[in-house]
């Protein structure tokens, strides 16, 4: 059944399906309540949420019950004469004191859960999370060996967003590279931002923390079940606020160690490549891949431009090398051309600049080596 047809069916069946799907854990279709998630803190928050909701429901039934009793039985059309009573110190003291006591009853579990959430000590793993317009960067700290760091971008293609292709199952909630953490491990996230304020939210890990430029906020999670958990940026951060999802892959400790080992080896490889000198062909081949990943969306498959300026025949790509490096590394402030210097390693930067200068009919014939990028960044 097509997505549309399914949806119409569901709307027709309505309440029954809502109740059925509510019984399934996790971020389900037509979920109506908070998920308990995969952490103890998440369970505590869920219980707190249900407790307050329950108390409010009971009070609501009482208040609305009295009100609707009046509406039904105390209507003028029934020929009643209105009473004239007003003010009763006893009643008024009661409806001030009783709610106050109920609030104390709510404050106790709320305080203890809050203190738990604020206990950032004894984390076994620290991950730095940096919000960018509009992607997340993860850096694994505290590890022996090479530092592992990568960007996590939305993977949903524009064609799905603009309705020219059918939307996939995890539409808008899928990334090119998820953050991976081990199960049953206290993981501390150090959350910050590079430009504007973002907020890192994964409902099922019971974590939401604002990513604020110039500040490092701490938060933590300890997932008790393996699985893939999805979230989104929660603080309005500009145009593509709705398009910077978070995917956390919780895996067994062994799998985590394997994954980390592979990422470290990859990082070491890049480090080794930085010292190498490449041939034109090697740079062009690598550059083409980098271009397709990082530049194509704005500058077009043939360098013809789009959101960004054309690369084919552009005064920058066919002009002075220093200016070209500057645009690639530092971006163009006030435009959508970002500073890629911090987002791309020096090998990729060298390759993609070389590619831009020699593809799309630019034929400048010059090459950029990783060491050139390194030196340019040093100033």
């Amino acid at each position: 059944m097509s997505f549309e047809a399914k949806r119409l069916c569901k709307l027709a069946l309505g309440p029954v399906l809502i109740l059925m799907s509510a019984a399934v854990a996790g971020a389900e279709v037509n979920q109506v309540n908070m998920s308990q998630g995969a952490t103890d803190v998440g369970h505590d928050i869920y219980n707190l949420h249900m407790l307050i909701l329950g108390i409010c429901t009971v009070i609501g039934i009482g208040v609305f019950g009295v009100m609707f009793y009046s509406i039904i039985y105390h209507r003028k059309s029934k020929g009643v004469t209105p009473a004239t009573f007003h003010e009763s110190t006893k009643v008024e003291i009661a409806w001030t004191v009783v709610p106050f006591l109920i609030l104390i009853g709510m404050a106790v579990p709320a305080t203890s859960t809050l203190l738990d959430i604020y206990d950032n000590e004894d984390a076994e793993l620290d991950i730095m999370v940096t919000g960018y317009q509009w992607k997340w960067k993860y850096e694994y700290l505290n590890e022996n060996g090479e530092n592992v760091s990568f960007f996590s971008n939305l993977r949903t293609p524009q064609s799905e967003i603009y309705n020219t292709e059918n939307k996939g199952e995890h539409y808008l909630l899928e990334v090119d590279e998820p953050v991976v953490i081990p199960v049953d491990t206290k993981v501390r996230f150090l959350v910050t931002a590079n430009d504007v304020i973002h907020s890192w939210w994964v409902p099922e890990l019971a974590v939401k923390k604002d990513a604020i430029p110039g500040f490092i906020n701490e938060t933590w999670t300890r997932a008790t079940e393996t699985g893939i958990y999805r979230g989104q940026c929660a603080e309005l951060c500009g145009k593509d606020h709705g398009f910077m999802p978070i995917v956390v892959n919780v895996v067994s400790r062994d799998e985590y160690n394997d994954w980390l080992g592979a990422k470290q080896a990859e990082a070491a490889e890049i480090k080794a490549l930085m010292a190498q000198t490449f041939t034109m062909d090697e740079l062009m081949e690598r550059g083409e891949a980098v271009y397709q990943r990082a530049c194509l969306a704005c500058h077009g498959a043939k360098g013809e431009g789009g959101v960004g300026k054309a690369i084919a025949g552009s005064p920058i790509a066919t002009g002075e090398l220093g200016v070209h490096l500057d645009v690639g590394i530092n971006g163009v402030p006030g435009t959508s051309m970002q500073a890629f210097g911090g987002q791309m390693n020096d090998v990729d930067m060298a390759a993609v600049i070389t590619y831009q200068r020699n593809a799309f009919g630019n034929n400048m014939g010059d090459m950029v080596q990783p060491i050139d990028v390194f030196n340019y960044k040093k100033g």
């Binding site: 908070m34 707190l48 709610p99 305080t111």
Partner: protein, 526 residues
């Protein structure tokens, strides 16, 4: 009326130069309705885009401009001026005064509004587009990363603040100095009390908002770094300053609504308000508490745990005086002789839906739970329950209740009731499902969403179109009443109505209470 009295001037100059509280009240009411339609149109664009997953009608950048302008226009253009209009019409008539204390300033506080909103709306056509950083305009998205139109936005906010402060000074001066002999403070109708307290809130916090936007202006144009971490500033400072204004602001919106409901429920229950004194004290307590709870909007910014606890406990406390109010209204209805004309229907709608919004407010006050609710659609649902079902429903009730007194003609009751029921159903269809998607993890202010939220969003959009359409019925009913309504000759209009405004002829003459009335101590307040 004697020969020495002036009637209204003829033509446009009547409205441009008027110092008459009734004329100015009328202009405020029509202006706010126009803004309500404009802000509503922005909301329709938002809901149309969110009707289905995927981008269909607008681009994400324009979507953000819509959410921003919807919030700004509704808060500053529709709701606040509508209650100022009501205050202008009613406060002098309720306290037995001939006019507002400062009539010329009154003219100014209205007439600076329309050009300001024209300026704000014109940002839509500027290069870089209108402000797109949300009505809460958090720095640095609203400073370093803002479109150039932000400067026009800052100027607009300054002028709106000026208008609000002038309006509030006027209300304070009127209530304190122009009450008829015998109209002591504790005999004033509750609508006057809630507005007096609201006016003090406005005078206290509008300058804070002006401070916040001035700091933005300095950061953008004069090289300061109040909110820029790179220059040693603090983006969180912005939020503290903004919410020190912003939290009292939500009570500025809702307190006059409490006043309206406290006038209307006793009238249609034919029974005095249960606890007048405790209603006054509850209003004052809510106003006081509003100054010490601002950071509950900021639980996730990384405050120290002691700060979180303080703001959580203080916020929870607001439930007590708010509860007192709800219990009072319900007890007022208890053993009354109820009838259900349109104003009463809107007040009962208010009572039910505002209470639901109050409950979700209490849930949001619980800091650990707020880590899940914050910035999700649960918050959107919550504040629309208190803003729309609170402020807008009570405003609709007020218009139906006092319109016969204003224009001497009765509205069409069947059409009024239809307006209520369509509004009530449309409103709930729009905002109730938003609780669900919020709890399930849908963030607010996104132009597109994951597939599991699709059904509820479609319901929400359908509800919004229904609610929007019902306002056209409202407009039609009001115009039809003014043009061709059935004349009302009874001064009291409603059997259960109490208060001085019901002692003047219907329709209320251009000048009322040129000689102060005698205040009957038994029936001074309702």
């Amino acid at each position: 009326m004697g020969d020495h009295h002036h009637g209204p001037a003829k033509g446009l100059s009547r409205w441009l130069f008027t110092t008459n509280h009734k004329d100015i009240g009328t202009m405020y009411l029509w202006f706010s309705f126009a803004m309500f339609i404009l802000g509503g149109f922005f909301a329709m664009v938002i809901r149309a885009e969110l009707f289905q997953p995927g981008m269909q009608l607008v681009e994400p950048a324009f979507f953000n401009q819509m959410t921003t302008l919807h919030g700004l226009v509704m808060v500053f253009g529709a709701i606040m001026p509508s209650f100022v209009g009501l205050a202008n019409w009613l406060i002098p008539m309720m306290i037995g005064a001939p006019d507002m204390a400062l009539p010329r300033m009154n003219n100014w506080s209205f007439w600076i509004l329309p050009p300001t909103f024209l300026l704000l709306a014109s940002t839509l056509f500027m290069e870089g587009g209108a402000p797109a950083f949300g009505w809460t305009f958090y720095a640095p998205l609203s400073t370093t990363y803002a479109p150039p139109s932000v400067t026009f936005f800052i100027f607009s906010v300054h002028v709106l603040g000026l208008s609000s402060i002038m309006g509030s000074i006027n209300i304070i001066a009127t209530v304190m100095n122009m009450r008829a002999p015998g109209m002591t403070y504790m005999k004033m109708p509750l609508f006057v009390w809630t507005w007096l307290i609201t006016a003090f809130l406005l005078v206290a916090v509008m300058p804070v908002l002006a401070g916040a936007v001035t700091m933005m202006l300095m950061d953008i144009h004069f090289g300061t770094s109040f909110f820029s971490a790179a220059g040693g500033g603090d983006p969180v400072l912005f939020q503290h300053v903004f919410w020190f204004f912003g939290h009292p602001e939500v009570y500025i919106i809702i307190l006059p609504a409490f006043g309206v409901v406290s006038q209307i429920i006793p009238a249609f229950s034919r029974k005095p308000l249960f606890g007048y004194d405790s209603m006054v004290y509850a209003t004052a307590s809510i106003a006081f508490l509003s100054f010490i709870v601002w950071a509950h909007h900021m639980y996730t910014v990384g405050m120290p745990v002691a700060g979180e606890l303080f703001f959580m406990y203080a916020t929870m406390l607001i439930a007590v005086p708010t509860g007192v109010k709800v219990f009072n209204w319900v007890t007022t209805m208890w053993r009354g002789a109820l009838t259900f004309e349109t104003p009463m229907l809107f007040c009962i709608g208010f009572l039910v839906l505002f209470t639901i919004g109050g409950f979700t407010g209490l849930m949001l006050s619980i800091a650990p739970a707020d880590f899940q609710y914050h910035d999700s659609y649960f918050v959107v649902a919550h504040f629309h329950y208190v803003m729309v079902a609170g402020a807008v429903f009570s405003m609709s009730a007020a218009v139906y209740y006092w319109l016969p007194k204003w224009c001497g003609k009765m509205y069409n009751e069947a059409m009024g009731k239809t307006h209520f029921w369509i509004s009530f159903i449309g409103f709930n269809l729009t905002f109730f499902p938003q609780h669900f998607v919020g709890l399930a993890g849908m963030p607010r202010r996104i132009p597109d969403y994951a597939l599991q939220f699709a059904d509820f969003n479609m319901m929400s959009s359908i509800g919004a179109f229904i609610y929007g359409a019902s306002q056209i019925l409202f407009l039609y009913n009001v115009i039809a009443t003014i043009v061709a309504g059935k004349p009302v000759s009874d001064d009291k209009v409603w059997e259960g109505a109490e208060g001085l405004e019901w002692t003047v002829p219907t329709p209320a003459p251009y000048h009322t209470f040129e000689t102060p009335p005698k205040v009957d101590p038994e029936h001074a307040h309702s």
